[in-house]
Amino acid sequence: MHNAADYADLVETILAKAGHEADEAEVYLSVSDSVSLELRRRQVGEAEKAVSWALAIRTITDGHIGASMTMSPARWEDCLAAALASGRIADPQVWDGLPEPVTFSRDIDVCDPSLTVDAGTATDLITSLCKAAECGKAEIAGGGVSLGKGSSLIANTNGVFYTREATSASASLEVINGTSTGYEFDHVSHLRDIDTQRVAEEAVFQADYWVGAGDIDSCTADVVLAPTALSQLIGGILLPALSGRTVHAGRSFLADKKGVACMDPSVVMYDDPYVGIGATRWDADGVATRRLDYIREGTVQSFAYDLRTAYRYGEASTGSAVRGGAGGAPVIGVHCLKLDARRDAVREEKAVLAHGLIGAHTANTITGDFSVELSNAAWVEDGEYGAPIRSGMLSGNLFAMLADIAGAGEEQREIGRMTLPEVRFNSLPIIGK
């Protein structure tokens, strides 16, 4: 496999030319290989290999920030010209410079040297996934496995030249029993950590348990959101509200709540950029990452800033830049988010537990109001599953819910860039059929 560092000469050439035409310049380069197998019922129907290459250039001249990206090494000059042109149109802002290089004292662990991106390894994984799915009556409808290896590089005209290598393995399974469906997945950095057994068993359990599920009467009930369900609301509502850009632009519910106790006193949320799938020592601006405490004791401690937002509003970068903006530019995001609250036996008292939410992306991202369909929900009591619920609509306001938490479960689960427990919320309205 080719490596981002293999393009060091190209990067130096770009920076040399860009340095003549702009005050400062930055190059981000990413290369990756992946292999994935996709199930069509019990058999593999598709085998796919992807070879990706992307180059993003950012230039800054008198506070005018420009950006462009390309998939072709041969088009780097077009890309640089487009970045410079982009900067000429963008309004200028306060800019105190791209970061200088630093030495990192800690390492991260997101690369598995033993992981090989090949169809044979993927076949072994999918075989174990399908075998593990024989544990119940549900039939496999789809799913798959994927293996990836990638490297990225960031360099700027101030001498920053950092590289990061990462590997990934993922598995997912969708099963059905009649019209009862189950879905589960896993995504890890190290091949040894992928748990195809758990993925299969949980998916099959969901589909089998919800066969013959009944209706729920409209009611007000405590609701336990599993990490899969909770991550949809946290990612869609809470994280945008903690972004410095959203806060200063006037579209964050939390804008005036820094230092205000606005959540349950046990709520803790922070970004630990050294532990998790998204672990990185440097952010998308080339700024050294650090732990960022968003919420402590139910009080908003800090918002997240990338370099441009920090300079504009007189704040310090929190090392929260991630790639994902137009033209490959950095935007504010998270690396390895952790959420917790006081531990409790959240399934002891009677409540409705939901594994998933249908339509969470339709929430009002500014006010936090949402109204979604429950997916794989059931009554729980005394730590046991009770009657499965076929359908019901859950409504609420995430910010109000976080102020009225009954407790968080013992186990944490990593879902993408978030690690979350089950959380029990007090008294939420559910509309039954």
């Binding site: 069509r40 420009g66 487009a82 249908i358 339509g359 339709t362 359908s391």
Partner: protein
């Protein structure tokens, strides 16, 4: 070029430029261009598909193509399912004429036009305005081992304007957007900025919806999302083939009220238009439901061969992703009910307007979608405004609960996500009256 083992292979290569502009609170945050060059090569071995996705494919040359086909074929050995391809008509439609080509307009002028929409939204009481423009243009080349070879130009552009109103610590937002394949649509759109702002201001005083089971009147935009989520996805041949569609065994059966006809038509010159599908198949109008009876599934070549009962020409892909069965321009056809008849038929219930999107679990047959706002209906009259109102239901029972279809079919452009891919679509419908709809709200 292909080895003896290859039963079929095809190549889809996209080269193009994307343009973006982002203006927030009067500040031009970004305005620029990026360059794409990517391809997918698929080969069908003795069993299933092997696929190779390669960035910077223009530099690969003839030898790169041969190598990619060989790699795809080698990968296909990891598959176990014997994939067959249906015989289909091939061919490409002419791309609709462009009225004003955005490629001829400078980035500076487009930025100024977008800024005029954004500034129009800055009314008193508005605390945030954000306008964005996206444009993607390029060339799509397709060739396959059967001798088919197509090339066409693709051009899509559009804008969105978000306005956030604030008062006494409360905030509400409203959004307008327009996307098109027929050229630049940024001129003289200031009223869209004002509309977003005025609605955001009105929403500050709107009451949260009260949930429950009630009659619901859906406006054409939301009813279009309903058609898309409730029946469109369930009719996709890949989901039918995998057994995760509640309508998988229902061809020829009455699955909706007889007033309902649902169509997917990629030939319409709307945002979901495609001159040819992603595997070279000629596109055509497909009636999913006619007079309440399930007539056709949407198919790729593979799912048509495996499932039957429908039409191929519905394979689509985002960029160089693997083609999967997708909708294009999906709509419920006009009925004959007037607005007065719809309101009278509703009597007491809720009028739902605009869309914040939706989602479906086609295997369970459960869907959800969210209106941007609504109005209570009492005694057939439109009353107070409500916010944060959503609707969910069971596909099979809900389709029978469509009591009346209006006569004001309107298509609305947007994007649809499936399998990690997002593609441009339009959804449409006339006003619909839905009986016994399950409406979600903050109060039970």
């Amino acid at each position: 070029m292909a080895t003896e083992e290859s039963r079929y292979y095809d190549v889809r290569h996209l080269v193009g430029t994307s343009t973006h502009i982002d203006i927030e609170n009067g500040t031009i945050e970004a305005a620029g261009q990026s360059f794409g060059d990517t391809a997918i090569v698929r080969a069908l071995g003795a069993t299933g598909w092997g696929m190779v996705i390669i960035d910077n494919f223009s530099d690969a040359g003839e030898s790169g193509l041969s190598r990619a086909v060989a790699d795809a074929l080698a990968l296909s050995h990891a598959t176990g399912e014997r994939v067959e391809l249906a015989d289909v008509k091939t061919g490409v439609l002419p791309v609709p004429a462009i009225k004003e080509d955005p490629r001829d307009i400078s980035l500076e002028e487009k930025t100024e036009l977008l800024a005029s929409i954004e500034s129009a939204a800055r009314l008193p009481g508005i605390v945030n305005t954000r306008a964005r423009y996206i444009e993607s243009e390029g060339t799509v080349r397709f060739m396959d081992s059967s001798g088919n070879e197509y090339q066409y130009e693709s051009l899509r552009s559009g804008y969105s304007i978000l306005a956030v109103a604030g008062k006494n610590g409360e905030m509400q937002q409203a959004r307008e957007s327009e996307h098109a394949i027929t050229g630049l649509n940024l001129r003289h759109k200031e009223e869209k900025g004002r509309e977003a702002a005025e609605r955001a201001l009105l929403l500050l005083d709107a009451a949260p919806a009260r949930g429950g089971t009630m009659n619901a009147l859906l406006d054409p935009e939301l009813a279009g999302v309903f058609a898309h989520e409730a029946i469109g996805h369930a009719s996709e041949g890949d989901l039918v083939k995998e057994g995760v569609s509640v309508i998988k065994d229902m061809i020829g059966r009455q699955i909706a009220n007889s007033v309902v006809t649902v169509v997917d038509d990629p030939t319409l010159p709307e945002f979901g238009f495609m001159p040819v599908d992603a595997e070279g198949v000629a596109v055509k109008r497909t009636e999913i439901i006619r007079d309440g009876v399930l007539k056709n599934f949407l198919h790729s070549r593979e799912t048509l061969a495996a499932v039957g009962d429908g039409e191929a020409g519905h394979a689509r892909a985002e960029g160089s992703s693997s083609p999967i069965v997708r909708m294009s321009n999906t709509f419920i056809e006009n009925g004959d009910a007037t607005m007065d008849e719809l309101l009278e038929g509703c009597k007491t219930g809720i009028l739902l307007k605009g869309s914040r999107g939706g989602q479906v679990d086609p295997g369970r047959g459960v869907f959800q979608f969210n209106a941007e706002y609504g109005y209570l209906i009492e005694d057939g009259e439109q009353r107070g405004m409500v916010r944060d109102v959503s609707l969910s239901g069971d596909i099979l029972s809900t389709m029978h609960n469509i009591a009346l279809c209006g006569t004001d079919l309107k298509l609305t452009p947007g994007y649809c996500g499936k399998g990690g891919q997002s593609v441009p679509v339009t959804d449409g419908s006339p006003h619909l009256l839905l009986r016994n709809a399950v409406v979600g709200g903050r109060h039970a």
